[in-house]
């Protein structure tokens, strides 16, 4: 049992001995027969926590727990038996002072002159820190992946040639093709032509501007249309990330909200209709009564044998005129309840106001309210859906009538309705807006109180929905106009509406 490296100062073995001593890895030599330490280097002393004097001549069972020592011994024997070196990528060891360490160990049988194993050489690198870093890296990678997977968006990494490099799936979202089929392919390979072109353009823009681009598109999947939003973000110099989000639910919610609004507005019309039934009956009965009177006048004349053609003609002409009047009323009513798409046209604001006031004259006189109008003789052409605009006028005038009816002051009971061509307070030059103002006397109010009137569901009436003014406002804003309410200095409220004038030059504004 002799020391394997002769200590000869200045000799090669001396140099080897120095290298052996100073290697940062643990090096140990055991005798093949009893597996007792023959020599160890400094790194071994430091790692195991025992000096070489303590170690030499002892075996693993003297330093390590029995099961660990058994394991080491068994492996040592296997190495010696096989006669080949063995690489143990990872083994754990309980050290005296440094706790549990993870080692990467290489065990090599050293053969004697007779070819039989004489010693076992072991070289162990302490990879505890490395393993720890690796583990943490793996964990953080895992977390990142979990995070990416939790994002409900598909994420693609794409090179500047539009080639898919990698992708993170999203739960509930399918890609156009299985991952294996589109990685390495380009837009044109996997996308419908139009979408491919659209995405390509967005890439160009992202590339030239260096800024994120957003495109929206829809695809029919399994007979159902789905809507997507793709955000294309340049990353580094050559790559892009494309984040694709399914916005179908949002789109549907928006769609549903719009539909609800349409229904609400229709319901508003219907309830307005109910309230107007009395008025309409009256409007229709007027021409019907006139027709009957003329017809019976003719009948009497003929029965008495005193009918003169010119007199009959006069009655018949009056009958025709009154029948036409009735037809106009019916047409108005039908238009008013009609649902369906907005029908935009150039509307004369003055005419619109006059027609609508006709609907309300009965209501006004029943409430003891007189309506004073100030309508210029020149038409004020505005752009909008005549029926919707009529509803705005109707709501404002009816509100005015109800405000006066509910105000028991004994004061003036006149509602003032005026139109003019005007500038608009929200900007915009003179002579661009058709303006309508509806002004009712009443108690003094603050501006804040008046602005509350325009909030949805605000109502002072026990049976009111509180939607009239807010619907009116959304109608007016829908045609690019503005609706405002302000308190009159001498009490009461004035509501003003501005609607863009329909010019020949820009018929769509």
């Amino acid at each position: 049992m002799s020391f394997p490296f002769p200590r000869e100062p200045g000799g090669v073995p001396e140099i080897l001995g120095s290298i052996f001593e100073n290697l940062p890895s643990m090096v140990f030599v055991k005798d093949a027969a009893l597996l007792r330490f023959v020599t160890v280097n400094r790194a071994a002393e430091e790692l195991l926590g025992f000096s070489r004097e303590e170690l030499i001549g002892k075996s693993d069972h003297d330093f390590f727990p029995a099961d660990q020592a058994d394991g080491f011994t068994a492996r040592d024997r296997a190495v010696l038996m096989s006669g080949r070196e063995v690489d143990i990528a990872e083994e754990t060891i309980l050290t005296r002072h440094r706790g549990v360490r993870v080692l990467h160990t290489k065990k090599v049988p050293l053969l004697g002159a007779d070819g039989a194993p004489k010693f076992l050489l072991g070289i162990s690198e302490d990879i505890t820190e490395l393993k720890d870093v690796e583990r943490r890296l793996r964990e953080s990678e895992h977390q990142l992946r979990r995070l990416l997977e939790a994002i409900p968006d598909l994420i693609f990494r794409i090179d500047r040639g539009g080639r898919f490099l990698s992708f993170v799936p999203a739960r509930g979202m399918r890609t156009l093709a299985p991952e294996s089929e589109f990685i390495g392919k380009t837009f044109a390979d996997v996308m419908p032509p139009e979408l491919s072109r659209m995405a390509g353009d967005a890439f160009e823009r992202a590339l030239s501007s260096g800024e994120a681009q957003v495109i929206e598109y829809d695809l029919v999947e399994g007979g159902k249309r789905r809507y997507y939003e793709a955000r294309i973000v340049p990353v580094g110099t050559d790559d892009f990330i494309s984040i694709v989000r399914d916005v179908s639910d949002r789109r549907r919610a928006e769609e549903a909200a719009r539909e609800r609004e349409r229904q609400l507005s229709h319901a508003g019309r219907i309830s307005t209709m109910g309230e107007m039934a009395t008025s309409i009956a009256h409007e229709l009965n007027q021409p019907l009564a006139a027709i009957l009177n003329h017809a019976e006048a003719c009948t009497f004349a003929i029965q008495d044998g005193r009918a003169r053609p010119e007199s009959l003609l006069e009655d018949l002409q009056a009958i025709v005129a009154q029948a036409e009047r009735a037809t106009r009323i019916v047409r108005h009513v039908r238009n008013f309840v009609r649902k369906g798409d907005r029908d935009t046209a150039v509307v004369n604001l003055n005419e619109l106001v006059e027609t609508t006031l006709g609907f309300l004259s009965f209501e006004a006189s029943r409430a003891g309210v007189s309506i004073e109008t100030e309508l210029p003789s020149n038409p004020i052409p505005v752009y909008g859906d005549p029926i919707e605009l009529q509803q705005v006028v109707l709501n404002l005038v009816r509100n005015g009538i109800e405000a006066i009816a509910g105000w028991n002051s004994g004061g003036e009971r006149t509602l003032r309705v005026a139109t003019r061509i005007d500038g608009c307070p929200k900007g915009g030059s003179e002579n661009e807006w058709g303006a309508l103002s509806v002004s009712n006397p009443g108690p003094a109010l603050t501006t804040e109180a008046v602005s509350e009137f325009l909030e949805p569901y605000f109502t002072t009436k026990p049976d009111g929905l509180g939607l009239g003014l807010s619907i009116s406002r959304s109608i007016v804003e829908g045609v690019g106009g503005n609706l405002e309410g302000c308190a009159n200095p001498d009490g009461g409220v004035t509501f003003q509406v501005w609607i863009p004038i329909a010019n020949k030059e820009n018929p769509h504004e």
Binding site: S279, A281, H282, N285, Q286, L288, N293, H294, A297, F300
Partner: protein
Amino acid sequence: MSEDVIVYVVDDDEAIRRSVRRLLEQVELPVETFASPLDFLNAHDPDRVGCLVLDVRMPGMSGIDLQKRMIEDETGLPVIIVTGHGDIQMAVDSMRRGAIDFLEKPYRAQALLDSIHRALALDRVRHEERRIARELSNRFSRLTAREREVVAMVVKGLTNREIASRVGVSPQAIDARRARAMGKLGVATVPELVEFVLRYECDRQGHTLPPLGQILERGLAEAH
């Protein structure tokens, strides 16, 4: 109908005014139309037998307001209410205010004409009664205080002698006073005097007395 009657029509709808005019002219009823209650109040002739066809829905003063105003003015003109769209409450209210009929537009001509004829008949009676009342009141006003005193006692059934002793003059003087009073009132017998006073007092209290004896005569006729 040649008699001097007039049908007033108040309606703010020009077509209605014109058509009612045509209808009434066809049956030879004189007609005047007005666009507003105020126009009517300013223009109508209270001394003519007539009636008013009134639309209750109108700007400014409503038909109902006009009806109220006419009651306050004791015009007494029969009113036919027409409306483009009435409810029961409106009908009840206007009848309570003295309308003789309530027609909903559109109405048949005959319904309107029936109402108008009934209204004119009522107004004719009303005018006749008013004429009589005025005449009675006229004659009564010619009596001196002493003559009125004697008339009152005669009607109460006192004899000349009893009256003479109460007043403190001779029975002959009472006799002469009574004859003078009956002459001024245009009555020949004591029963006629009693009827005159009864009628006069009824008129002053706003009642109408039917021709005396009518009820009895009718009762006798039925007994036979």
